[in-house]
């Protein structure tokens, strides 16, 4: 799906206003976007809203996408992460979280069993679980948790400088694992 030439021509077609091309882009990346958003926000209904929003933004902003700057997958994920972070920081989301007791969210998780199980099954063999515990924790915070590095430093009670070096070492480790595979 990340075949480079396919992505480039898809982008060209979307720029030309081809809705079918957007549909194909959706087929290729919706799973990834939905998975990331779901992991960040843990609410299926909201996650589905956000996925639609992300692809609408892709459609509207495709002219701002610069192939020379980023791969299309990176660009799309960043739109998804930013959109979800905005949602998490929004007042309505915070209020909703407060109104929802822990019990309720646990029960919901059980009801929506199929997706939850899928997430877990994937989670077990994922590369992030092969990182050292401290590296995994930090990457989870900054990549999926929407934490800034200052917030992560506070959350983990480590100095800001350590956060920076640890982000780098975790990603280096990821790269090493991916290369071996």
């Amino acid at each position: 799906m990340s075949n480079l030439s396919t992505s480039v021509s898809l982008v060209e077609q979307i720029r030309a206003g081809d809705r079918q091309a957007l549909a194909r882009l959706y087929d290729a990346y919706a799973g990834m976007v939905y998975g990331v958003v779901l992991k960040m926000i843990r609410n299926e209904e909201l996650a589905q809203e956000i996925v639609q929003d992300v692809f609408l933004r892709v459609w509207q902003n495709i002219d701002k996408y610069d192939e020379a700057k980023a791969r299309i997958s990176t660009w799309i994920i960043n739109i998804a992460r930013n959109r979800t972070i905005d949602e998490i920081r929004s007042k309505s989301f915070k209020n909703q979280q407060e109104n929802q007791s822990l019990d309720v969210s646990v029960n919901e998780g059980e009801q929506g069993g199929t997706t939850e199980m899928k997430v877990d099954a994937i989670g077990l063999k994922s590369v992030i679980n092969r990182l050292r515990a401290d590296q995994k924790q930090l990457l989870e915070l900054v990549y999926f948790g929407g934490y800034t590095h200052e917030e992560a430093a506070k959350e983990l009670s480590i100095p800001l400088g350590t956060v920076k070096t640890r982000v780098r070492s975790s990603i280096l480790e990821l790269r090493k694992i991916l290369k071996v595979e």
């Binding site: 087929d27 996925v51 994920i77 994937i122 200052e150 920076k164 982000v167 790269r175």
Partner: protein, 286 residues
Amino acid sequence: MSSKDLIQSGILELYALGLCSEEESSRVEEALRSDSRVRKEYDEVCEALDHLAIEQSVEPPSFLKGKLMDKVDVLEQKAVQAEKPEKAEDTPAKPLKKDLKQEVPVRAIGASRWQWLAAASVVLLMASAGLNYNFYQRMNSAEEEAAVLRNNNMLLSDENGIIQTNYEVMQQQYAFLGDKNLKAASLFGTKAYPELEALIFWDASRGDVYLVANELPALGEDEQYQLWALDNGIPKDAGMVPSDFKDGGAYKLKNISSSQAFAITIEKKGGAQSPTLEKMVVFGNI
């Protein structure tokens, strides 16, 4: 900053995560444009991060795609409408129902003067609200940053105070080093205590004795180190090393006017009349 330094600083990773300040971002973007090594490193960082996302994949429900494409269609219709305002003027009586719901500000065509003004004021109000919100956000983040800086500043100032105090204590403790008549002797561990070590500074003319406890382990509650001066083979009490001595600390003990060697024993708290020889830990000649 060289490309190697930039790569090793970890800033590329932060940039890829969207965690850089504007200033940092433009520095990274400049390097990405001009330096192929930086570019390659950055691509690999992104690839690793993308992998994190890809392996999270969960298929969304199938109806979602239909909903999305409907929204795209609506967007496109709006865009088409917006491009043909002239036509809309010709047929103002027949707007599509859908558009009535979706559109508000665009169809001001053929409107009277006050409608124009109302529309303009709404736009202005919205722009001003947006601007306010933007400023408010910026002020908040500036305040947060200021709080972090204030906090760091306080920590630094605390640390500085501690260092200053330690320095003054050391200075006082070691003031004797200016004494010209000073003789120094290393006291080495005895057979039973080979790891231990202490230093003696002694001004024979004045009798001042200073002990530097550089390798003396802490003792139990009821024990204390006692220094002895050996004068013609006879041990004389040269004073007790304070129970709360610190590693590397210097302590002035009793005055000794004549001695050829010094030794330290472990004694009961308060000291002994004569040294317990089997508990002698260090010894050295002057």
